[in-house]
Each structure stands twice: as C-alpha cells, then as structure tokens.
Chain length 183, copies 2
Amino acid sequence: MSLPHAILTALLEKPSSGLELTRRFDRSIGYFWSATHQQIYRELGKLEQAGQIRALVPAQPARGQKKEYEVLPAGREALSVWVARPEDPKQIRDPLLLRMRAAAVVGAPGLDTELRRHLALHRRQLAEYLAIEERDFPPERTAAQDRLRHLVLRGGIDLENFWIGWLTRALADDAVPEAPEPE
Amino acid sequence: MSLPHAILTALLEKPSSGLELTRRFDRSIGYFWSATHQQIYRELGKLEQAGQIRALVPAQPARGQKKEYEVLPAGREALSVWVARPEDPKQIRDPLLLRMRAAAVVGAPGLDTELRRHLALHRRQLAEYLAIEERDFPPERTAAQDRLRHLVLRGGIDLENFWIGWLTRALADDAVPEAPEPE
DNA sequence: CACTCCATGTAAGTCGTTACATGATTCG
DNA sequence: CGAATCATGTAACGACTTACATGGAGTG
C-alpha cells in the first residue's frame, strides 16, 4: 500500500508526467521506494480513477501525448491519513543474508568475492548520498521540512554505513570461504 | 527467486513438514526471510514437482495428513548454484522513511509517537537477537559453519542497532512534529 | 459427540517484474 | 524522411497477501 502514497508525495512536491515521475523514482524518492514506469503508469491510472489526482492538458487522449498530473484535495487527504496510521516495521528480507545462511550448509567458494563486490557498491552509494547531503543540506538551513528530509537522507546514509561495517567485518573475520585464486 | 532457496536451506538443516517449516520461518530463518504458510505449501509443491525435494511417508495423500520433506541431490545442487550466483543489493524500500518524506509535505502530528513505538519494537527485537547470540554462539566455538551463521545473526543485530540509532537521533533532533502544523 | 488444535490446502486479488507495442517529437 | 528518443501503454507472469475451506487427532 505504499506505492500510491509515494506517488502522491512526489506529485505534491512537484506536478509531473509519468515519465518524469519515473526519473524521480530513479533518484531521490527511489532511494527509499523504488518503482518501475509500468507500476507508476498503472498506479497513476488508479489514482485518477479514484479522484485523488487529475491530469492537466486533458483534451488529447492520444497515446504518445505527455500528461501532467496534479494532486486533488482528496489525494492530499488520503496521504495525510496514511502518514498518521501506525504501521509495524516489516520483517527483514535480504537475499545476501539468506545466501550466507545457505552457504553455511552447502558451502560457498567465492563468496568473499561477492562480499567485496557488494562492499564496493555500498561504498559508491554512500558517496552519492554524502554528495547529496553536502549539496542539499548545508548546516545553516533548518526549516522543519528540510530537517525531515535530511533525516530521511540520514537514514539512507546510516543504512549504507551498516552494510559497509557488516561486510568489512565479515571479510575480516575470515569466516567466509575464499574464492580460488585466479591465475 | 529467494523463497525456494530459503526452504531448501531450512530442509537441509532439518527435514520438516510444511507447518514445522512455517514455525521455523517465524523464528530463525524468518529473521531475514519471512514467509507465510500459504507461500510455503505452494513452494513445497513446486519443489517436489521439480524433483528437488521429496515427501517421506508417501502412502497417504490424505488432506490433513502430515508430510515430511527432505532435500534430494538435485535440490542441493540447485541451492549451491544459487549461492554462487552474483546478485546486486536490492534498492531500499522502507515505508517508515517514505512516511517521513510524506510528512515533510503534508505534516504529521503524532509522528513522534509512532517513532517511539518503532524504537521500542526494535529494542525488543535486538534483545531477542542478543539472547540468541548468547545462547547459540559462546566465544569458544569456531567451526566455519558456526562463524557463518553467527555473521548472519550479527547482520540482524547491526540492523536493529541502525534503526535504534536512527530513531533515537530523529527524536532527539526535534525535527519531528509533535503537533499539527499549519500549511 | 462437540470442541479445539493440528495440518494441508484453495481462491482471489494486489503488487512487482519483464518484455514488448505504439504514437509523438526532434534532429540530421 | 529516416532514426533516435520521448512518452504512454498492454500483456503476461510470478511473488505475496488475505480470507477461507477441509480433514485429522486428541480431549472433556
């Protein structure tokens, strides 16, 4: 039930077309809620049907025509309700942790290589977040909105730091079977 | 594509019936890959069809009859292949972070209460993990299997610590609205 | 024998992924 | 005008969720 609310949030921040939304989901919003353009178009259709958003430039129902959406009062209301509703944290579901557990049973030559690869990916992601932080959240600005968005970004940063720490430790612990040396 | 491999791992650790698997997915395995009993029964059917597991006590195809499954060589092989295959980390997808972002747009009276609730839940989960660590991983035992499984548990522990740290900071930062905000 | 719990399963619907289709626009 | 790119959309499938159905076994 999160995708429609992610879209409403994005549209409130800035009215957009489907493709623009897709692009934004590849950047800021997508850093904590990803979605493909097919999901987005389908959901836009549902939200329009439900009277929570509406398309500007309504005249042309043509196929390749750009359609910009904006949020209606009903949509803003629905989003407010969702934000206020308690929701328990989801169970963890991580394929890498699962693979380690499986490796404890069937063995895993080369798993250390995979861990190093993940470590590099997380370091890159962390660097990207830190660059965004430096660009968007200089120390002096402290509007409430900014602080909330900064907190969300800090969440991403902390998560990457968790992975980097855990992977580093895993590799140092020497518990992970090593890959055969390449020639 | 992770669920069948989670089941194979669980069955290799100990042959079980569907309901026993469900229970184990509520405990150890489920700490990093959760699944409902419907998912598990369906997947058990597929795995049996595919010749990767087989049911013991085969005579009775009765409905309420307990069926114990064990992994066949083909299943073990399939699991080994999966463990060795590279797979990129998934994008973050967290409803709480999304709600915070939405709160930056529509406001969120009482969000701090929700954060405190999450904080308590994560502290409880952490305590549970630490109890398991103390019970299952005393300092002296260092078999390779144990170290891998310990690493996985450390992953869970570190993740809970991430949430506790982030939530604590969020509450301390005073960026989270405690009362309705005008727009 | 009614009740409860154990155990397996069906059904329906939503969400997410992958592949592909089609019209509109721009630019050499 | 031909090709690339922009933009929206269809189709199909698999994963996940929720609600419910059915049979078996033990117990008062």
